[in-house]
């Protein structure tokens, strides 16, 4: 018996503040005007995507003590722009990245429950954590959280917001004009939470929203992050978009579900992925090379080398050889406000390896950064890209992808026009939305149904 075809889930990530976003292209539009968000969201909805995804960073990035100026800088407030997008879309899920360190559960729960009401059940929360004092300087408490407590706070934050979401059951509002009974329970919304990070009690003031709770995403990759996702998330925003890495990650995370009494389909795995489309595979390859050069200007190449060298390299020629000097491993890191720098755990070894590769291939600094940086995940004709995506999903390298175009706001258009119809023809992607909520799109049960199921099963 052949395995039934999996349905692919697709999402659109509004291009962000990394060098993957090519702002220098003549086609690139505003990253802040609402019209860009409307175009992007309506394209995703036209293509029947599951949801739109927004990342967040709560302090402008710095390098060498100065605001980093080579990438897109600036973005809107996540909740506010998602609420506005709910007005110009009907089905598209609205996923926002919200930090559990520099927020409080009562306020975040109010905002997600409100967004869920105002969108008719389309809200989702990508729960991220941070600890850095750098970002903390923008907030009342400053950098209050030790690094090793960030997941403990995130877990308790999420558990606490769930208690708030669940403090209303959905049947309290009678609004009986004849008898004058508005609520059937004077204590609706009551909660008490006593824990290591939060000691709060009172009454939550947003009644139960259509989805009960927002869909929960998690993006961390550490063992702790994976465990957090397996225990509490509905979906993972991962970075493993190749077949082998994707399968390894997929198997690892799905195998962690059983110990929390959860089944494989209760956690979707959705890697971030970029794409380049051309009329032919060869044309797409050419375009991909061009885009990589746009993404990595000489100035950008030097700055990326600084992540590893941890030194000011501005006097080097990006078209020349790599620095002879070794990375500075003594002090604080030259770059602040980005997660990427944590990837280089052994800068001396990385520098050694890069020098060897550059010498062997006769690469300049810029060539090296282009070659060692992230290549686009899917490059090819629409048919090739559709096939690759489908193959990955059917081979359990993921349940779908969160696609990030390199051009704002029109970069998704060609995917919507050329690739989606092919996936639909193959019967692996919806041609119409089947329900109104994001849970419907992702095939996730409503939390009340899940709770009822658990009661029956036990």
């Amino acid at each position: 018996m052949t395995k039934p075809l999996k349905q692919i889930h697709l999402a659109a990530h509004f291009p962000g503040v990394n060098n993957t976003t090519v702002w220098s292209d003549p086609a690139a539009g505003s990253h802040i005007e609402f019209s860009s968000f409307v175009h992007f969201a309506q394209t995703a909805e036209r293509a029947k995507f599951d949801f739109l995804f927004l990342a967040e960073g709560l302090r402008l990035r710095e390098q060498g003590g100065k605001i980093y100026d080579l990438d897109v800088v600036g973005r809107p407030d996540t909740f506010t722009v998602l609420a506005a997008l709910a007005a110009v879309t009907e089905h598209l899920g609205l996923t926002g990245t919200i930090n559990s360190t520099f927020n409080e559960p009562y306020e975040v729960a109010r905002q997600f429950a409100s967004l869920d009401h105002l969108s008719g059940g389309r809200s989702a929360w990508n729960v991220v954590t941070s600890w850095d004092a750098f970002t903390g300087e923008n907030f009342r408490r400053g950098g209050f959280l030790p690094q090793d407590e960030r997941y403990s706070r995130a877990k308790e934050f999420l558990a606490t917001t769930n208690e708030l979401f669940d403090s209303w059951h959905g049947d309290e509002i009678l609004a009986d004009q004849a008898t004058g009974t508005f609520l059937n329970d004077a204590k609706a919304g009551s909660f008490v939470h006593t824990g290591q990070h939060f000691d709060i009690h009172g009454q939550f003031n947003v009644p139960r929203s259509p989805q009960g709770r927002p869909v929960i995403f998690q993006a961390g990759d550490s063992d702790e992050g994976r465990e957090f996702a397996a225990s509490s998330a509905d979906a993972i925003f991962s970075r493993y978009a190749t077949l082998d890495d994707g399968q390894a990650f997929y198997t690892d995370v799905k195998n962690r579900l059983a110990k929390y009494g959860r089944s494989h389909d209760q956690l979707k795995i959705l890697p971030a992925a970029s794409f380049i489309l051309g009329d032919t595979d060869a044309e797409a390859e050419e375009l991909a090379k061009e885009v990589r050069r746009q993404q990595v200007s000489g100035a950008t190449a030097l700055k990326h080398l600084e992540f590893v060298w941890n030194r000011d390299l501005s006097s080097y020629d990006p078209e020349g050889p790599l620095p002879d000097v070794d990375p500075d491993v003594s002090g604080t890191h030259i770059s602040q406000g980005r997660a990427q720098v944590r990837m280089y755990r052994d800068p001396l070894a990385t520098a050694r390896e890069w020098r060897e590769r550059a010498a062997a291939n006769n690469w300049s600094i810029r060539d090296l950064v282009i070659e060692t940086g992230n290549r686009q995940n899917f490059i090819g004709s629409p048919a090739t890209v559709a096939k690759t995506i489908n193959d990955y999903v059917q081979a359990d390298a993921s349940d779908g992808f969160i696609l990030v175009p390199h051009i704002t706001p029109t970069g998704l258009d060609v995917f919507a026009d050329k690739v989606v119809p092919l996936l639909q023809e193959q019967g692996v992607f919806r041609t119409e939305y089947e329900g109104p909520t994001l849970r419907d799109h992702l095939g996730l049960a409503h939390p009340d149904a899940e709770a009822a199921g658990a009661r029956v099963a036990s």
């Binding site: 702002w23 220098s24 802040i32 005007e33 609402f34 409307v38 302090r59 402008l60 605001i67 100026d69 080579l70 990438d71 897109v72 800088v73 600036g74 973005r75 809107p76 407030d77 909740f79 506010t80 722009v81 609420a83 506005a84 709910a86 007005a87 110009v88 520099f102 409080e104 009562y106 306020e107 905002q111 429950a113 409100s114 105002l118 008719g120 300087e137 923008n138 907030f139 009342r140 509002i173 609004a175 004009q177 004058g180 009974t181 508005f182 609520l183 329970d185 004077a186 204590k187 919304g189 939060f198 709060i200 009690h201 009172g202 009454q203 003031n205 947003v206 009644p207 000489g298 100035a299």
Partner: protein, 398 residues
């Protein structure tokens, strides 16, 4: 400087209306309060009446008939949505009217609120405002668990005065931090200079380095300067301490005089504070708040008020004057209060489903006939409607 043009009108949206029994009127839609469509309809009606803006009430705890505590009543509207998000949800569906959500500053982050209102300004293309509010409720402090608000035992005690002064001082700091964050990007900071590879000119991004007694904020904002430069900041004030906040930090203050003499005195106090704060040449609006029951027959308005009071089981009282009468009578009163120095009014409809259309279809034409209200929207931004210029950026080199 006080404005001299025709009067300005806003309506305050809250649940089904300001009378606690308003939800029981057949015209009310109490089951729709948590839907976007309900708010969209209200704002569309207000916009049809060419109103300057709507405010949207909010709070960090259940609504209550008590000043300081939850009341556990089940016969009034309870539960609400976040006002900033309601405003954002409505913004793309409206074109001219200003959107002014309430935000409680006592337990929230200036950094988050600043970018939220800046974003509301983007999604409304220049129609955002903010009404700042304090909370002294101990139960709301317990929802956050970050600070304890001492219980107010007697309203005229020195402790109460100190607490209220402290909360308003913090609000002034909060508004200052929010305003600096809005200015932390100069308008032309985004340069997209392909030759040098620079997206922004970082010399035009500014650390705000705000340090106050309750918090400090480094900046810059993550959100570029909003279309209006400075979205509208507003506050409701009943006493000297909040009048000072209005005079020093806001663009519109809402006050609650019950007669023209009182209005004159309040306006004089605020204007004196305004001059003392060095803002004498800046336009600052002082709006009068009024609860309104409007019917073509004055007896019907009074009867409606009595009927709702009977349903509520007690007469409705308010910090603001309660007006029951005809649109023409209300127009007379507004003109009289305007002559006492108020520049506009924030009307609180007793029953939104009834009294909001009575404002837009009754009061507004009445004022237009007297030449006291606009006949078409004359500006693209909320500041523009209120005659406020787009301010220069405090960080930009002159």
């Amino acid at each position: 400087m006080s404005p001299s043009s025709s009067l300005h009108l806003a309506v305050a949206l809250d649940g089904t209306g300001w009378h606690p029994a308003s939800w029981r009127e057949p015209v009310a839609r109490p089951r729709d309060l948590l839907t976007a469509g309900y708010w969209a309809d209200l704002v569309a009606e207000a916009e049809r009446g060419l109103l300057d803006f709507v405010t949207i009430e909010d709070g960090l705890g259940p609504q209550s008939s008590h000043f300081l505590d939850p009341d556990e009543r089940t016969d009034q509207v309870r539960g609400r949505l976040d006002a900033v998000l309601i405003a954002a949800r409505i913004a793309p569906l409206s074109r001219h009217i200003g959107l002014v959500p309430t935000a409680v500053v006592t337990h929230t982050e200036p950094f988050h609120l600043s970018k939220a209102i800046a974003t509301l300004d983007y999604v409304s293309t220049g129609r955002a405002g903010l009404r700042v509010q304090i909370t002294a409720r101990p139960n709301e402090a317990a929802h956050f668990g970050r600070r304890t608000i001492p219980r107010i035992e007697a309203y005229d005690s020195p402790d109460t005065r100190d607490l209220v002064t402290d909360l308003f001082d913090e609000t002034a700091d909060y508004v200052e931090a929010v305003r600096r964050l809005w200015d932390s990007w100069e308008d032309d900071a985004e340069i997209r200079d392909v030759a040098t590879g620079r997206f922004v000119d970082r010399d035009k991004l500014h650390y705000i380095d705000f340090e106050g007694r309750h918090f400090s904020v480094k900046g810059p904002s993550i959100t570029p300067r909003p279309p209006q430069g400075q979205p509208l900041v507003t506050a409701l004030a009943h006493d000297t301490v909040p009048y000072r906040l209005v005079a020093r930090a806001t663009d519109v203050g809402y006050v609650t005089p019950h007669a023209a003499d009182q209005a004159r005195a309040i306006v004089a106090e605020i204007r004196a504070e305004q001059a003392g704060a060095g803002r004498a040449d800046e336009l600052l609006h002082v709006f009068g708040d009024l609860v309104v029951f409007l019917d073509d027959d004055p007896a019907e308005a009074a009867a409606r008020r009595d009927r709702l009071d009977a349903l509520a089981g007690e007469p409705y009282t308010s910090d603001a004057r309660i007006f029951a009468g005809t649109p023409a009578q209300l127009a007379d009163l507004l003109v009289e209060l305007q002559e006492a120095g108020l520049t506009g009014f924030r009307l609180r409809p007793a029953v939104l489903g009834h009294d909001l259309p009575a404002v837009t279809r009754g009061l507004v034409p009445e004022l237009q006939r007297r030449g006291a209200f606009r006949r078409a929207y004359e500006a693209d931004t909320l500041r523009g409607l209120l005659g406020l210029p787009r301010p220069a950026n405090r960080y930009a080199a002159a």
